[in-house]
Symmetry: C2
Subunit: 124 residues, 2 copies
């Protein structure tokens, strides 16, 4: 792993804010320092930084939406190897929701818990 100016700039930018920026926002900021930096470089660096644990990527996962024909209060667990999705009961109670509302000032309307792991078949 080599120390490049691009890498340092991208890391500084993503660390400089708590606004959870998008890749293209990081790209725009980076261009102020390195005008001809490439968007592909930003994507590659963000991915690499994530592998190293310096950055967390939200809403990643498979980019395909999946649909559930059994609506109702339940959550999901996704197999990290084969993508199989199973239903699980919700573990978040009313007290937790109220705590979040008080801490953030947000008015909570809903929440979603996603679990990740290995399904029984993929555990071998």
């Amino acid at each position: 792993m080599r120390k490049t100016k691009q890498r340092q700039v991208v890391l500084d930018i993503v660390r400089s804010t708590d606004a959870h920026p998008t890749a293209d926002w990081v790209y725009e900021q980076a261009r102020k320092v390195i005008p001809n930096i490439s968007l592909g470089t930003v994507y590659r660096l963000l991915g690499r930084l994530q592998e190293e644990g310096l950055v967390v990527q939200l809403e990643a996962g498979s980019r395909k939406s999946r649909f559930d024909g059994q609506p109702g209060p339940h959550q999901h667990i996704v197999c990290e190897r084969c993508g199989r999705i199973a239903d699980v009961p919700d573990v978040v109670d009313r007290a937790a929701t109220e705590r979040i509302e008080q801490l953030t000032g947000y008015r909570v309307s809903t929440h979603r818990v996603e679990w990740f792991g290995l399904c029984p078949k993929c555990q071998e």
Copy 2:
């Protein structure tokens, strides 16, 4: 809202499985019944069925990934109006994880809680 064959077929398909199918899987199944059904129709119907509460869409939200330069155990709350994201502490304890493992047979490696609501600014 009109009763069309396409609508009924898509609803039957998405209700017939608990595998949380993708839109193109639903499309392939639907083509076995209506060979010239359009993929756009499948997308539109799934969206409409979701609005009616008959179907739940997973992993939806903005299609852009967002990045967090402050790694560490915390979760997020997303404003449904302006997209603002704030950090919140995790509310899932060890006992809940064990319960999920026993219920599903999955080996849990991580989880993610996403809260949705209105940020203070958007509550007016």
